[in-house]
């Protein structure tokens, strides 16, 4: 019997969008008697990377002693701490890696001292030390989401999505302390010299994923128009080709290939979006929501939708920009984010900051919950995902990158067992976590940034 492959009720609620949708992976698409790994349901590990600046209360000396972030116990019997509490329902999926340092963000020369806020975001997923410059000659490293997307991106309509929840920052100009804004405004680097802009507007993300149009009907109408127009281009370019000389013909042939690739993408999205008769596409978001809480959850929803429909397998999200002084009303903490991180080592302020950290973790728990509740192939999306969440800052009060808070959530197709707390040797670079993530995702590489090895998880 093949009961295990027969998921009947697979509906997820797209909360932020307020509409019910059903899943794209049709049972009809999984032929009943083929081995699972050969079908469309073969696991394709998704990677979501989420960065938050300013570190954690649990990284300060007092906070560490109080175990605001890192649990006391190592191994599988760890307890849930003040900041990590929202992750409790997902214990089986959670891997906490304590006591690594984002050494790439440390100042390497006297001039670099103090510039930590302009430098650290760039280090989070590259493990590299950004070059001090305000000009166009910026240089960092390739980030793990992009390394992975370069491997899996061609199998999906969109290679990766990059999102942020705060002001769109320009990738040029100076952000102070003699560093280019580019380091502060993105965590995704396609190469050491190619920073990728992060999209703020959920609507733009939505359009990239599902097409343009307010309603499902409108989108479908436009997609079919887009396709017929691309068809027409193909016909016409082929005719035009006949009157050109050989090098131009080759150029147009190249153009035609790319147009066909576009058609393929549209067809793929079309197929994934419309084949299910029950499927009801969500209404496109209007723009940037007023509330941060709503905004970040909307971005999480879009990530889940994209993973679910296999439109992309890679996402990255900046939850805030460095030195953000946003106040998060839902957290119950009234101190602005940046001021809160400069707690002056006062115990009560460290505790308050740890509570703010808990609120941020709770929004990630929202994503985790959505992933877990979304069936995917032989399990749920969380089984097939690896979510990396953390900060390149440790004790923000003194701009220190020691004991940076980092967790991994998800089983990554069985590569991560979960329910684990690992404490690293003091001085271990967080790039070791990045390398570990890469290897778990099946990428053969020996080092990334300043990594010295991997973490046993």
């Amino acid at each position: 019997m093949f009961i295990s492959k027969n998921h009947l009720s697979r509906r997820a609620v797209l909360r932020g969008l307020g509409v019910t949708i059903s899943l794209p992976l049709l049972d009809a698409m999984v032929p009943a008697q083929t081995p699972l790994r050969q079908t469309a349901a073969a696991p394709k590990t998704r990677l979501a990377c989420i960065e938050i600046p300013h570190g954690a209360g649990g990284s300060a000396i007092y906070g560490h002693q109080q175990h605001y972030w890192s649990p006391v116990k190592e191994g599988s019997d760890f307890e849930f701490t003040l900041s990590l509490k929202p992750m409790e329902p997902f214990r089986d999926y959670l891997t906490i890696i304590s006591d690594t340092d984002a050494t790439g963000a440390d100042p390497k020369t006297p001039e670099e001292v103090g510039a930590d806020h302009t430098r650290s975001a760039a280090v989070f997923m590259t493990g590299a030390h950004p070059k001090m410059t305000e000009g166009a000659d910026y240089y960092c490293g390739t980030s793990i989401d992009q390394i992975y997307s370069q491997m899996t991106g061609k199998d999906t309509p969109i290679p990766s999505i990059e999102m942020q929840v705060e002001d769109p920052g320009a990738l040029v100009g100076s952000c102070g302390f003699r560093y280019s804004c580019v380091y502060k405004n993105t965590i995704s680097w396609a190469s050491p010299t190619t920073p990728l802009p992060m999209e703020l507007d959920p609507r733009v993300v939505f359009e990239r994923l599902f097409g343009d149009g307010a309603t499902a009907e409108e989108r479908s109408r436009r997609r079919s128009l887009d396709r017929s127009i691309l068809d027409r281009i193909t016909d016409k370019a082929a005719k035009l080709q006949m009157n050109l000389d050989a090098p131009d013909r080759r150029k147009v042939a190249n153009y035609l290939d790319n147009i066909r690739e576009l058609e393929r993408r549209i067809q793929k999205i079309e197929k994934q979006n419309t084949t299910d008769p029950e499927r009801e596409l969500p209404t496109a978001p209007v723009g940037v929501p007023d509330s941060w809480d709503e905004h970040v959850k909307l971005m999480h929803d879009l990530t889940v939708l994209a993973f679910q429909a296999d439109i992309t397998r890679v996402s990255s999200l900046m939850m805030a920009r460095d030195v953000s002084s946003r106040v998060y009303p839902e957290s119950g903490v009234r101190t602005p984010f940046h001021s809160g991180s400069h707690h002056g080592e006062a115990p009560e302020k460290i505790e308050e900051f740890a509570r703010l950290n808990r609120y941020h973790v709770s929004t990630v728990a929202y994503l985790i919950n959505q992933l877990k509740n979304t069936p995917d192939g032989d399990g749920n999306l969380l089984d097939h995902s690896l979510v990396l969440y953390g900060s390149p800052m440790g004790n923000g009060n003194i701009h220190e990158h020691r004991r940076v808070p980092i967790i991994l959530v998800g089983h990554a197709d069985g590569k991560l067992k979960g329910n684990l707390h690992v404490v690293c040797k003091p001085g271990t670079t967080h790039a070791n976590i990045l390398l570990t993530v890469m290897q778990k995702l099946g990428i053969e590489m020996d080092s990334i940034g300043d990594s010295t090895g991997t973490v046993a998880v």
Binding site: E134, G135, A136, D167, P168, A170, V172, G173, S174, C175, G176, R178, S180, D201, R203, D212, G213, A214, E218, R221, R222, S224, L225, D226, S228, I229, L230, R232, I233, K236, L240, N243, L244, D245, A246, P247, D248, R249, K251, V252, N254, Y255, N258, I259, E261, L262, R265, A284, V286, G287, V288, W292, V323, S324, S325, R326, V327, P336, H338, S339
Partner: protein
Amino acid sequence: MFYIGPQRSLMKILLATVAAVVLCPSLYSQSPGPSAAESRRVVISQYCAGCHNDQVKSGRLDLAGLDAAHVETAAPQWEKVIRKLRSGMMPPAGMKRPDAATTKAFITSLESALDQAGAAKPNPGRTAVHRLNRAEYKNSLHDLLGVEVDPAAYVPPDDASHGFDNMADVLSLSTTVMEGFARAASKISRLAVGDLEMNPVTETFVLTQGMSQMRHVEGTPFGTRGGIAVEHIFPVDGEYVFKMNFWHASTGGLFGLTTSGEQIEVSVNGERVALLDINPRLTTMEDVRTPPIKVKAGLQNVAAAFIQKAGGMVEDSLAPFKYALSDLTTGTVPGLTGLPHLRSFAISGPENVTGPGDTPSRRKIFVCKPASATEEVPCVRKIISTLARQAFRRPVAEADVRDLLNVYQSARDKGDFEFGITAVVQAIISDPEFIFRFERIPRNLKPGTNYRVTDLELASRLSYFLWSSAPDEQLLHVAVQGKLKDPIILEQQTKRMLADPKSEQLAANFAGQWLYLRNLRDVQPDNYIYTDFDDVLKESMQRETELFFDNIVHEDRNILDLLTADYTFINERLAEHYGIPNIVGSRFRRVPVTDENRKGLLGHASILTLTSLSNRTSPVARGKWVLENIIGTPPPTPPPNVPALMENSENQKRVSVRERMEKHRSVEPCASCHKIMDPIGFALENFDGVGQWRVRDSGFEIDASGTLLDGTPINGPVGLRSALVNNYSEAFIRTFTEKLTTYALGRGLEYFDMPVVRSIQRDASRRSNRFSEFVLGIVKSAPFQMRRVEETANSEARH
């Protein structure tokens, strides 16, 4: 062999063109017989063959082995020789050099031989199929549909080569680019038609921290300071909400919280639509927004600006910087006058749509409206014919109309008349004939044959050269009639187009790249050193040079004026920077330049800033800029492992840039190149890293003296300028000709282009080097009017 085309009359014109281009009687009066060849041989054996022989082969060049009697057999090598000699690079320092007269005669002899050979067997080269670059795409869409499009929102930046981003060979056709064009076509078609069912969207304009907002901003109402003015297209008649966010200190307080009673005004086309109070206790999460405001569809000038409360001096504990936001805490400290600064301005809508409105786009698209069902198809045909003609830059055939009518019909099945037209517009602006400039190859031509491009293709070459956009109806009309090939008509059209305001694209795209002005965008001088430098100043600098270049174009001036002009264009911010009194306001205006040091391009703050490092001047970069862009002899790239210049640091004796440079350039291999570049840069040392005049550097008196490679002693900018004008004006004109020809052709220059370049230069020199003479020379030249069948094309052409 020439391909002569179908009509006999073509031949006459073609020959006339070629003759005008390459024949120059004075130079060819004496034929280069054995004596000319012999004298060339003598020079080569005396001065060159010591290194450039079959044994040593310096620079992989064996001149002794080349046939000096028939230089055309090795034209690429001899063109290289000419270039090295003209720049004075050869023979190298320390080796025996011929006297100036001998060198000049030798160069002339080589050039006339090569030019004659070029005239006998011209090679116009070939330009590949040309994808519109960002600027061309934007302008073509504007002219076609009356829309303002930001291509950066859709396609990645264009790759550049040979110094320009309109080079056909490198304009990418990647999936990303094509996806961008497809996405743009879908959006723009709906925007242009006015989609009544469109969802409300929010468009946000972000102001950088470098934008100081203490004074009036161009485009905002008078009596206001700071803020932003945007040309925004409202897609339909409806209600829109305007939202504003402000700068805050990193601790959370509003920048300017110490000043109460600040107000911001939102205006549409200069008329106030809202006046809003700014609460000093505003947090970063809060914005200030207007109620829904009715706005008409189409392009409107929208501004959000602060009401100017007080003018004149403020008494502060510390003098505020012109770069107001250089330290965000200063806006929250009592005793310092910080005023609120706009950080972002968002337009959200439409809601309560009342109609598509009457927009320029709709007027361009809907040349008719069907009143009944029977009128529908004829009207659609009319709309299609009008748009397609301009978009495809050629007359429209019945097949084109039928093809697009199919697009209309299949969309019409799913929607109304307007939806069908939207589909037609989308199809037209996604069409390969819109996105590319194809040049068709006549049938049955042998590889290596030259042929004249069609009048329509010539019209596109011309308009994308001068306007970075498609031909207008007048040019198209002349081309359709087959008249454009007529040199008189061509000249008329060229002059008409140069006089048109659209030719300001030459300043933005040609001068912007030739003079590296576009690099200014990425320049960020060190705020600790240049405390007043902000983005307002940066933009003003770029504008000055663009306006100046545009003036040279429009007044058809001698291009040497670029180096010597005694006038420029400035606004208040720039006037302060230069120390010029009595210039008030953000508007640019022409002013005389009385300071000798400031005359011409080398006195422009733009050039001086973009050739500096963030924390100091770079005499090397300035020298290199002059060598590359003025004299036309780029220095070789530095060898690897060059030690960095020692930087001044704290607790150490400070040393001037010049003194540090001297140390660096005293040793080989650095010395040989630096002695070419540095003296030029040293002469400009009185201009600091942002182009302000100074007499001291790091406490030391500036020494702006030096000796150019040709031995001319110079001192300061005035000396440098007169040396350039006296000794290098020919080199400058040649450099300019080469750059402009490269830009016009959309391909890099080859050795076989050099006779044409020289002829354009010679002709223009005889007509006072007027800008239009260079343009006309290029436009009438063989490479601009003709094309060569690829040598390897034949084998594949049969398939």
